[in-house]
């Protein structure tokens, strides 16, 4: 690209920005000058409309179109074929089963581990440091985490130098190297470990804050009643953080349902590790089976919706209590 081209492009961008600023300025000006009667209404429309239009273009229209595509075959005729495929083809069924395994294991294990950790380090010396240690994986992207763990599971055939941590340890103790990521079904579990590693920190931070919100009087009262630590945990702590538990469980469930990056970077869905979001991309863009990809997207949407509704309801109830 020559300097003249570059200057031309910069000029274009500047012009575009000026036009954008002028339109926004005009809009604000006219809203400000709206008639006194119904000014609230005009302001509401003026400020909400851009967001609503963008939402319609970027979210609602694609959702409707995807749903439509899911019910069309390649000739554009209505058919159930894509859903029949998703629920009968062994490879596709395996994708659904894998997703269910993910959703069962990741939220429960992350929450249990996060809760246990939060309880054990509560009010201990160096609590902040312990928290930071577990929370840090949250700062790593899923792709980054996938690449890190891929090295942990890396396999080299017996006799060669093991560059994967897990196999290096195994071989050092006289074992045989294992093809961790290629061996079904252990590979799905090993991918799940990565997600748990990331999400435990999230669960721990939220639950730790909730635990600190339990009034000390309640715990002291329970102590005076002669309860042991487990009874206090069961009967005071857990009810006290129920709202936070629901939020953590549902948030992680949704993140798990749409997990894509970890599978994509570590196995690309090979060796029976695929999940819905990964298969959706593979079908739509690599296999050019738009209908099948759309059908999987719709299934994913249907699975996520009840969790979102439940989550919103719980949050609303909590707000009412306060």
């Amino acid at each position: 690209m020559t300097t003249a081209d570059l200057l031309g492009k910069i000029l274009q961008i500047v012009m575009g920005l000026v036009v954008f600023a002028a339109i926004v300025g005009l809009l604000i000006f006219f809203i400000d000058k709206a008639p006194k009667r119904g000014r609230d209404y005009w302001q509401l429309v003026g400020f909400l409309a851009p967001a609503m239009i963008l939402l319609a273009i970027g979210l609602i229209y694609p959702a409707i179109r995807t749903t439509g595509l899911a019910f069309l075959d390649k000739q554009g005729v209505f058919s159930w074929d894509n859903f029949v495929w998703a629920f009968t083809q062994p490879a596709a069924v395996r994708t659904l089963i894998n997703t269910i395994i993910w959703v069962l294991l990741v939220p429960t294990l992350s929450t249990v581990l996060g809760l246990a950790y939060a309880v054990f380090i509560d009010r201990s010396r160096g609590e902040r440091v312990f928290k930071a240690l577990v929370f840090m994986p949250m700062a790593i992207s899923f792709v980054g985490a996938g690449i890190i763990w891929k090295f942990v599971y890396e396999y080299r055939s017996a006799g060669r130098e093991q560059i994967g941590l897990l196999n290096a340890i195994g071989v050092a103790f006289g074992g045989e190297p294992v093809q961790w990521l290629q061996t079904d079904p252990i590979n799905t579990i090993l991918l799940i470990v990565v997600m748990i590693w990331i999400q435990t920190g999230f669960a721990m931070v939220i639950l730790s804050a909730a635990i600190k919100g339990i009034p000390t009087e309640q715990i002291e009262a329970a102590e005076l009643d002669g309860t042991n630590a487990w009874q206090r945990f069961r009967n005071v702590t857990i009810p006290g953080i129920r709202g936070a538990l629901v939020v953590v469980l549902t948030t992680i469930s949704i993140a798990t349902l749409k997990v894509f990056d970890i599978v994509r970077t570590m196995t690309q869905g090979n060796f029976n590790t695929s999940v819905i979001a990964n298969e959706m991309y593979t079908q739509a863009f690599r296999a050019s089976e738009i209908g099948r990809g759309s059908a999987l997207a719709v299934i994913l949407f249907v699975l996520v919706t009840p969790i979102v509704i439940y989550n919103v309801n719980v949050l609303r109830k909590q707000r009412e209590i306060r």
Partner: protein
């Protein structure tokens, strides 16, 4: 209050501006310095004032530089400003771009299946008479068919590659008295002989290739279908006139399985049969250099992988450290049949300058210039084999120009759901122990109904 609003607005606008500037810096155009050579060969294409053509494709890095180099004189003489952009996401994105009206003028499509899909979308411009005339003059009719849909020609082939080479060490063959096999049975005998010597397995195989894991195995099966059952059955197979679980395909799978699923035959230098799926195809042939295996099945492009750390310590040639022979026919004296690949520059914009560029790319002039720049071959019959940059590429051009049956890589011709998904996954499961019948049945079931 008013001034605070304004300040926020300015800050927002400034942030957007910086982001836009940063994005503008990402355009990957390659500048040409406008050097002009002899314009004689380019007069027939005419001259254009201020016309520009954009090209996009999967060709990257050094290969992209050579591609740009190959049309530099053409661009300078005709006045067409050609800009090329290579992206590894081309295959996944081109249909989306075309659908949104943002396709490049020319897209270099590496698979006939993708060409058909783009045609079905109604985005492609048929090739001009000049391009069709070039195809008729310079290419085998099989190639013309791969660039056509329902009898309409949409693109001429560009470059080519040959699959089905078997790499070996010439010095090892000389020392141990191995002969280059002339039939598939002789290949089996040679493999068994090497295996019987007991110090290593004859073959090394690597099927790992990221999301495309399994494709080197599909090449094996395609080569065997073409050799055992002939081009007619091969054509019926890739177009689904016979099912994927036809006995002819089962026979080819089983013949390949005698190597890939046999612990005596694989996996030299790596371990047992299961190591094939975790060994990257890029490095899988290297144990030949250490004498840990003797044979490796891979396409002509594998030439570039023999020096993984750079340098030139390993040479490819009949007197070099490694060389390759073509997987032989079933019976001695049968005509040679090869599978391979190539690209097709399809047009998305109907304009004289676009067709001029396409006509040039389909000419023998371009093919000779590009082959002369090194690293690739073309199936254009006007190419002088002596222009090839290596002994192997020269041999490959002679194979393509000789009395050879050529068939495009089968998985590239099949629908994406099979050729870029279930066939690859099927190979992985099959090498992992699944029976041949279960494997072909599963792939057959995944074939799209329409």
């Amino acid at each position: 209050m008013r001034s605070r609003v304004n300040r926020r607005l300015i800050a927002g606008v400034a942030a957007v501006g910086i982001a836009a500037l940063a994005l503008a810096g990402c355009t990957g155009d390659i500048a040409d310095d406008g050097e002009t050579g002899d314009c004689g060969p380019y007069e027939q294409y005419g001259t254009f004032d201020g016309a520009s053509v954009t090209i996009s494709g999967t060709i990257l890095d050094l290969e992209a530089d050579r591609l740009v180099e190959s049309w530099k004189d053409f661009a300078a003489c005709t006045g067409i400003d050609i800009s090329y952009q290579g992206t590894s996401e081309f295959e996944a994105q081109i249909a989306v771009l075309a659908d949104g009206g943002n396709a490049p003028d020319i897209g270099i499509v590496p698979q006939p299946g993708l060409l058909q899909r783009l045609q079905a979308g109604g985005w492609l411009i048929p090739a001009s008479d000049a391009v069709v005339a070039n195809i008729d003059q310079w290419w085998d009719p099989a190639w013309k068919a791969y660039g056509s849909v329902d009898g309409t020609v949409y693109a001429a082939p560009l470059m080519a590659s040959i699959k089905g080479y078997i790499w070996y060490s010439p010095s090892e063959f000389a020392d141990k008295g191995y002969e280059i096999p002339k039939t598939l049975d002789e290949l089996t005998e040679l493999s068994e002989k090497i295996a019987a010597e007991g110090d290593h397995q004859p073959w090394c195989v690597g099927l790992e290739s990221g999301e495309a894991t399994g494709w080197p195995g599909t090449d094996w099966v395609e080569d065997y279908v073409l050799r055992l059952s002939g081009p007619e059955v091969y054509d019926q197979w890739v177009t689904h006139e016979i099912p994927f679980n036809d006995p002819a395909i089962v026979e080819a799978f089983d013949a390949v399985g005698d190597y890939l699923k046999n612990p005596d035959m694989v996996n030299g230098g790596f371990g047992d049969v299961s190591t094939q799926i975790s060994e990257a195809f890029q490095t899988a042939g290297l144990p030949i250099l250490d004498g840990e295996c003797s044979l490796h099945h891979q396409a002509s492009f594998y030439e570039t992988f023999w020096n993984p750390d750079g340098g030139t310590s390993n040479t490819v040639g009949s007197d070099g450290t490694v060389y390759a022979f073509l997987l032989p026919p079933e019976n001695e004296g049968d005509p040679q049949a090869v599978t391979g690949g190539g690209e097709f520059p399809v047009a998305f914009r109907d304009a004289p300058e676009v067709e001029a560029v396409r006509a040039y790319l389909s000419s023998d002039t371009w093919a000779n210039i590009r082959v002369g720049l090194g690293g690739v071959i073309s199936a254009n019959k006007g190419v002088d084999p002596d222009n090839a940059s290596s002994e192997l590429l020269k041999q490959s051009i002679e194979i393509l120009q000789g009395d050879t049956t050529f068939r495009f890589d089968g998985s590239d011709l099949m629908p994406g759901a099979v050729g870029a998904d279930s066939f690859w996954k099927g190979i992985v499961a099959w090498v992992g122990g699944q029976s041949t019948q279960d494997t072909v049945d599963a792939i057959e079931a995944s074939w799209p109904s329409s």
